[in-house]
Amino acid sequence: MSRDRLVVGHNVRKVDGVKLVTGGAAFTDDVQIPGMLYGKILPSPHAHARIRRIDTTKAKALPGVHAVLTYKDVPRVPHTTAGQAWPEPSPYDTYLLDSKVRFVGDRVAAVAAESRAIAERALGLVEVEYEILPAVLDMEQAMVEGVAVIHDEPDSTKIYDREHNIAGYILREIGSVEQGFRESDYIIEREFRTSRQQHAPLEPHVTISWLDADGRLVIRTSTQVPYHCRRQVAMILQIPVSRVHVIKPRIGGGFGGKQEMLLEDICGALALATRRPVKMEFTREEEFYMARSRHPQRLRMKMGVKRDGTVLASQLTVLATTGAYGSHSTTVQGNTGSKVLPLYRAPHMRFECHVVYTNTPVAGAFRGYGCPQGFFAQETLVDEIACELGMDPLEFHRKNVIRLGDTDLLSAQLGEGKEGLPRLVRSCGLPRCMESAALAIGWAQKRKSFPNGHTHLRRGVGMACTMQGSGIAGVDWASAFLKINEDGSFFLQVGASDVGAGADTVLSQIAAETLGVSLDKIIITSGDTDITPFDVGAYASSTTIISGGAVNKAAGKVRAQVLALASKMLDAPVEQLDCGNNEVFTTCACRKSVKMSDLAMQAMYKEKFQIMDGASHFNTDSPPPFCATFAEVEVDTETGQVRVLHLATAVDPGTAINPMQAEGQVEGAVAQGLGFALTEELVLDANGAPVNPNFLDYKIFGAQDMPKLTTILVETDEPLGPYGAKSISEVPINGPAPAIANAIFHAVGIRIRKLPIRPEDVLRALHAERPANLEEELLTR
């Protein structure tokens, strides 16, 4: 399009902003339905046990209790809770309710009662006799011969090796790492560990379910995946998909945790059992251990380089635990290899991973989807290599990172639980990302000399480069539908799920731009399975590029209908027409125009024609957004406390459809990455019970804790994206942990390879690893 963009690329307000900022009733729980019951799950107190006897008589007898369900009352359908496209690559190892419990917090029974208090009381009246089984809590023990088998049920499927608690296994190699290491001048291998981070969305999972007047099951729920949820609930409850209606209202944050069918099945089952509306919500405590987390990993990474710093071979060997159920098990871990290793142009790469079951809270999708773990290992290792070679890490990156025109072959081998598609880099702002973020942090000066005098506070700077994808190539797809109204506005219907990141706004901007109308002329409805067309949902950084692609296509088709009618009305050929400012005008000297509203009236009442169309869209490639993260830290050598002073993040998102929102995605991801680096870990006790399921003991960063943030958008033009857009929400979460770890090394000369980096770890390392002459060395730097 030749004209300047009027809506895309502009900092418009969120289209749903006013209701959010005025406290409007917008979220799942912001309704009161007459006769609504309160549903509650009885969580397992044991990490691994068989239910020998379960008696619900007393609970059912409690006045106000309407239903108590156990495994005896519900269909037994093996499934996964992972909200993925069918057929889901995750194992079918989960049941609505089961006679076996596999982690502290697993479902034992569910009740529906007239109030929360009665429901909670009823839980205590369910009599359960458990046969306690040996629990496997340590992932390193999970594959050992003779340990308890967590999924010994015969009907679960797609488990790689149930006898050894292996949910999934991946091995991929490009070239020959053996040869690569042989040809290398310098080889280094290190081990890294990452923690069980929890999404902690401010809105815990909540679902309300009821039967509508036609007896169809309505599910109003905080989900990122309304369509997958509909399909899965129908399968689990054994009712036709057409009898289920999923509504996604405003969502109070998802971050992957709501790419999961978590309460919808059991809430639907209670609604069916009671014929009453039922609400279920996790308390904050339940959200911490009954919802999902990031997969904890142990990563062994080995790299071989030439003396000049050229990377020849990289090998990553991962052990990860998915907890008690295999939600997103192979796909998250696949990403740890496929999106991480190809950042470097090594001819030889090898990725191997075991994903094991343990009797611990279930891991799942979490912003970054395996990459934060992988990049923590890779970028920390690369920093060490550069330092060993006496190279500036920035120079090392400049030399080795993937470039425009490169093809990432590992992605071809490692797709969504199967073989993928090769990834061609058609847009790449990474070099500019590195230079601009380096400048923002003052890299050149601070790397050389820091004013670290004779004090216990030492400063350092560190960096990391990361990438991600934009949708799952060949899997993710979306659709959109548009129709005109009499006033020249358009209804836009998309299956895409705005979970708070601003998708509704970005998709409306794309439609408005293509149709030449102002943003207020687009009325969007999203994520309602009765009203909106299909979309896989909000995950894999897919919404802007895939759903946006569908919107752009649909708007293009509708625009063609608009222009065809305008051509008739203005007596001008279509080639000489354009849309803009809510009208269609001729581009020739005659300067004729018709208002979009007049055109709509003409179509509807004279031509008797509804201007409308829809489109579907998918990509066979997943263009990577790129990111450079630079950190400046101050380490207190007396307490081990690490204070991050400044995080500079430069991201290449393709075109930023809404730069202000794009910056917000970066800043939010950086805050979560900061937590992953320094504070966040759901700790389990010796019995597998959570120790810190609350915001006092599980620390997420607050307004006063945040360092200075610098956000830089390095825009490129991606040929596969609508208006050149790629994605932005995930990639910036990957950088803070390695950049901070590398800055700590620069400050005090120790390598921390375990997350989160706690003061006690730093202090211990300072005492253990500090060479005798380090103090001197630091002082002379």
Binding site: T22, D29, H199, T283, S436, G668, A669, A671, F701, Q704
Partner: protein
């Protein structure tokens, strides 16, 4: 009705208070939290985020002071003046804070926004020209998982100085190199 232990109790009490300028008489149970009563009365802008006073999503002003309504018995609100996020706008006219939150991209999912605006309002009512540190202190009790706090802080500072909406891509707090 049932008490917290599910035992049949008929005890209720009358609560008289003012919410968003309107005087109310509500029948409540003695042990009920202000959060639960407000939500039951359809003040849905008061959010349930943790029920432990840790996240700030349920904040309201009680006689002008920000309070986590999950930490206060409804009965303690007797005779008090409550302001919820629903009462911050003046009819259809948004408060400058709300305008600033929209213009600065300070709203993402919006779940914590009401509480932040409430505390920011209390801050600006007492301190019309706060420093960035004062703004951060006022927002310290409000956990946000979406924004990293930068844009909310910017928004409060902008509302305070009644600056016009920023030009495209200009930033007062963080430097942005483009």
């Amino acid at each position: 009705m049932f008490g917290s232990r599910g035992v049949f109790v008929m005890k209720t009490m009358e609560l008289h208070l003012t919410v968003n300028g309107i005087s109310q008489n509500w029948s409540i149970a003695p042990g009920e939290l202000l959060l639960d009563v407000l939500r039951r009365q359809s003040y849905f802008g008061v959010k349930r985020g943790c029920e432990k006073g840790e996240c700030g999503a349920c904040a309201v002003l009680v006689d002008g002071k920000p309070i986590n309504s999950c930490l206060m018995f409804a009965a303690q609100a007797e005779g008090r003046n409550i302001l919820t996020i629903e009462g911050v706008a003046d009819g259809g006219k948004l408060d400058p804070l709300q305008e600033a939150f929209l213009d600065h991209g300070a709203v993402q999912c919006g779940f914590c926004t009401g509480g932040m605006v409430i505390s920011a309002k209390a801050l600006l009512d007492g301190c019309p020209d706060p420093s960035e540190d004062q703004v951060r202190e006022a927002l310290a009790g409000h956990l946000c998982r979406c924004t990293g706090y930068l844009k909310p802080v910017e928004a409060v500072l902008a509302a305070a100085s009644k600056r016009k909406p920023r030009a495209r891509r200009a930033k007062p707090v963080a430097e942005v190199a483009r």
